[in-house]
């Protein structure tokens, strides 16, 4: 399935249900293909987006995902912002520990997603929601 992408505008996808995680993956893949990321980088980015979108849904109680292209003058890339207004993350170091989970998963989603992308910023506090920005650059 091909998804039409307008590279000029950030694309927003609401995340309210499981199907929305699939939509996020399709959107991210379409943008990643459009900025010519390699197949490995596409797969890494799509997988990271899948993890973070599911976190937005499961732990953040739903939110939004914005997908946009990025340009640092030398390289192009894809930037994705995951935002929710859920409970936030109280202990970030603990949450980023491999194998730590409060939800019965493998406990690798957040830490794994950080390893799958080039830039990873997280802005969160207990009770303040969570906002994660990731970027993947083309090689």
């Amino acid at each position: 399935m091909t998804v039409g992408v307008d590279l000029g505008q950030p694309q927003t996808q609401e995340v309210r249900a499981d199907e929305d995680v699939v939509r996020v993956r399709q959107l991210v893949r379409a943008v990643a293909v459009a900025v010519k990321l390699s197949l490995v980088d596409q797969t890494k980015l799509v997988t990271a987006a899948s993890e973070l979108a599911r976190n937005t849904l499961v732990y953040g109680g739903g939110g939004t995902v914005d997908v946009m292209t990025a340009d640092n003058g030398r390289r192009r890339g894809v930037r994705i912002v995951f935002a929710d207004s859920g409970p936030g993350i109280a202990d970030l170091d603990l949450a980023l520990t491999d194998g730590y989970t409060t939800g019965g998963g493998l406990g690798l989603g957040l830490s794994g997603a950080r390893r799958l992308v080039d830039e990873f910023e997280i802005d969160t506090a207990a009770g303040q929601g969570t906002r994660i920005t990731v970027t993947k650059w083309s090689r």
């Binding site: 893949r29 490995v40 797969t43 899948s50 993890e51 491999d98 998963g105 493998l106 989603g109 794994g112």
Partner: protein, 285 residues
């Protein structure tokens, strides 16, 4: 402007008096929209049914489609919508079957004339609008149930368990592996293991576009369940990009055998069961 009981009765009278002209003209307008996808005879029959039931509706002096006595009319409209939806016609093509009556009534009332005509026409229109909306809702409901049925069929279709060799079954996974599908896959696989008494199962993930922690967890659980039943599981179809992603994510498959292709997995199983594999058909010989 809502219909009064008196107007409802007058509508029935009008429909009865000009019966044949109305049904023919009504069918004509609908047929023009359908562009031959439904036969004239079929449309005429539907229109005649609707016409007959509307007369009964008016004779009872009913003023609202939601009235208790409107059951027959509602059922007829729902039936019409279901038929249209199943034949793949659009919502507009469904609603036009009802809305066409407005044009016919206008033509009829113009002929009849009279000062009351306009007031009546507006009231009749209100009822026809109500019928149109009801048709539309029934149409959407039918389409939604069709989509739900198809999703379920797809779920069944997309998770076959195939026998590859004596004692070897395989599950080729294609597409997104969400919790619902993972459950179906696990059930199917375990049942097939029992039915065939196979000691080996191969889970092929060539067709899974992204393996994230949730997918991995589902696969791992399936493997553990199969092992509990005494079967050995091999995961195949791990493409280079998937392998790199799995490593970066930090997912460990432990002592579960993994192979790049389904052929490798089958060869691995056959070798471990002691089947001799000929290599005679080598290229160039």
């Amino acid at each position: 402007m809502a219909l009064t009981a008196e107007q409802s009765g007058r509508l029935a009278g009008l429909l009865r008096e000009h019966g044949e002209r109305i049904t023919l003209r009504w069918t004509e307008i609908v047929a023009a929209q359908m562009r031959g996808r439904l036969s004239h005879a079929e449309l005429l029959r539907q229109v005649q049914d609707l016409h007959r039931i509307m007369i009964a509706f008016g004779d009872q002096g009913l003023v609202d489609l939601a009235d208790e006595g409107g059951g027959e009319l509602r059922a007829e409209l729902a039936e019409l919508s279901r038929g249209r939806a199943r034949q793949g016609l659009s919502a507009t093509e469904t609603a036009i079957s009802v809305f066409a009556l407005k044009d016919v009534l206008l033509e009829t009332l113009e002929v009849a004339g009279g000062t009351e005509a306009l007031r009546d026409y507006v009231a009749y229109s209100a009822l026809i609008d109500q019928m149109g909306l009801f048709t539309f809702e029934s149409y959407v409901r039918t389409r939604e149930s069709l989509i739900a049925d198809q999703a379920e069929q797809l779920l069944e279709l997309s998770t076959p368990v195939v026998k590859l060799w004596e004692g070897v079954v395989a599950v080729p996974l294609v597409g997104t592996l969400d919790s619902a599908r993972a459950q179906v896959v696990m059930e199917r696989l375990l049942q097939t293991l029992v039915d065939t008494g196979s000691p080996y199962a191969i889970i092929d993930i060539t067709g899974v576009p992204a393996v994230d922690t949730q997918v991995a967890q589902h696969i791992l659980k399936t493997v553990v369940a199969a092992r509990l039943m005494g079967a050995d599981c091999i995961i195949s179809g791990i493409r280079p990009q998937i392998a790199q992603t799995i490593v970066a994510l930090g997912i460990e498959f432990g002592d579960i055998a993994t192979k790049a292709s389904l052929a490798d997995a089958l060869r691995h199983v056959l070798r471990s069961t002691g089947v001799e594999m000929g290599r005679r058909a080598r290229r160039g010989q």
